[in-house]
């Protein structure tokens, strides 16, 4: 892993069109600003891991036979 030391407001460029900027530091939290083209997806790693686990579970559940939905209704998002 490449490790760089940066101060507040200093930036890192990744390739031609991705820029990371250190916005603020407090205790053990660092705030990072990210400039990237729309085609590049940026997300928190732990969210990606959770989504990945959900997809594995969904794929495993895809062998489930017909579910009896009688007496159930769809729960709308409020």
């Amino acid at each position: 892993m490449l490790i760089l030391t940066r101060k507040i407001n200093e930036e890192i460029k990744i390739g031609n069109d991705i820029t990371l900027k250190v916005i603020s530091l407090s205790d053990s939290v660092v705030k990072i600003g990210i400039d990237a083209p729309k085609s590049v997806q940026v997300y928190r790693k732990e969210v990606y891991e959770k989504v990945k686990e959900q997809l594995i579970a969904a794929s495993k559940s895809s062998t489930q036979n017909k579910v009896d939905l009688q007496n159930f209704k769809i729960k709308k998002v409020l």
């Binding site: 997806q41 997300y43 969210v47 990606y48 959770k50 989504v51 990945k52 686990e53 959900q54 997809l55 594995i56 579970a57 969904a58 794929s59 559940s61 895809s62 062998t63 489930q64 017909k66 579910v67 009896d68 939905l69 007496n71 159930f72 209704k73 769809i74 729960k75 709308k76 998002v77």
Partner: protein, 127 residues
């Protein structure tokens, strides 16, 4: 061309039916070609991998759940579903919807940056 699927048995398809996911789905980045199938019971859709026909994802149209859900132009939003024999245990992923354009036959997955949409949302409630 043919693939063997668990839910629908052998399916014959032509190239123009293939939905292309250029970046794959999260955790399944190497699988890029899918068939999009509507189930007979009319509630779930299925995204069945062509590259690995043993892999399939049950989907549910999110618009029915939430008409405020983030839209993408010309695409329909679906949530990946974890099925269960007990409907109250069935969950849908609203955090990382799958967007599909059935005309251009392309799809992609996005993460919604909002606490409103969980990865495991209970899809059904008992009456």
């Amino acid at each position: 061309m043919k693939i063997n699927t668990y839910q629908f048995g052998e399916i014959e398809y032509t190239e123009d039916k293939v939905i292309k996911f250029q970046d794959g789905l999260m955790g399944f980045e190497n699988l890029k070609n899918y068939l999009f199938i509507k189930s007979d019971d009319g509630i779930f859709y299925w995204l069945n991998s062509i590259d690995d026909p043993g892999i399939a994802f049950p989907l549910f149209g999110i618009r029915i759940l939430d008409d405020q859900f983030p839209q993408q132009e010309n695409h329909e939003a679906f949530g990946v579903v974890v099925l269960n024999s007990n409907p109250s245990e069935i969950t849908i992923n609203l955090k990382a919807p799958v967007y599909i354009n059935q005309n251009s036959k392309e799809g992609y997955q996005r993460i919604i940056d909002s606490d409103k949409y969980p990865v495991n949302y209970n899809l059904f409630t008992g009456q």
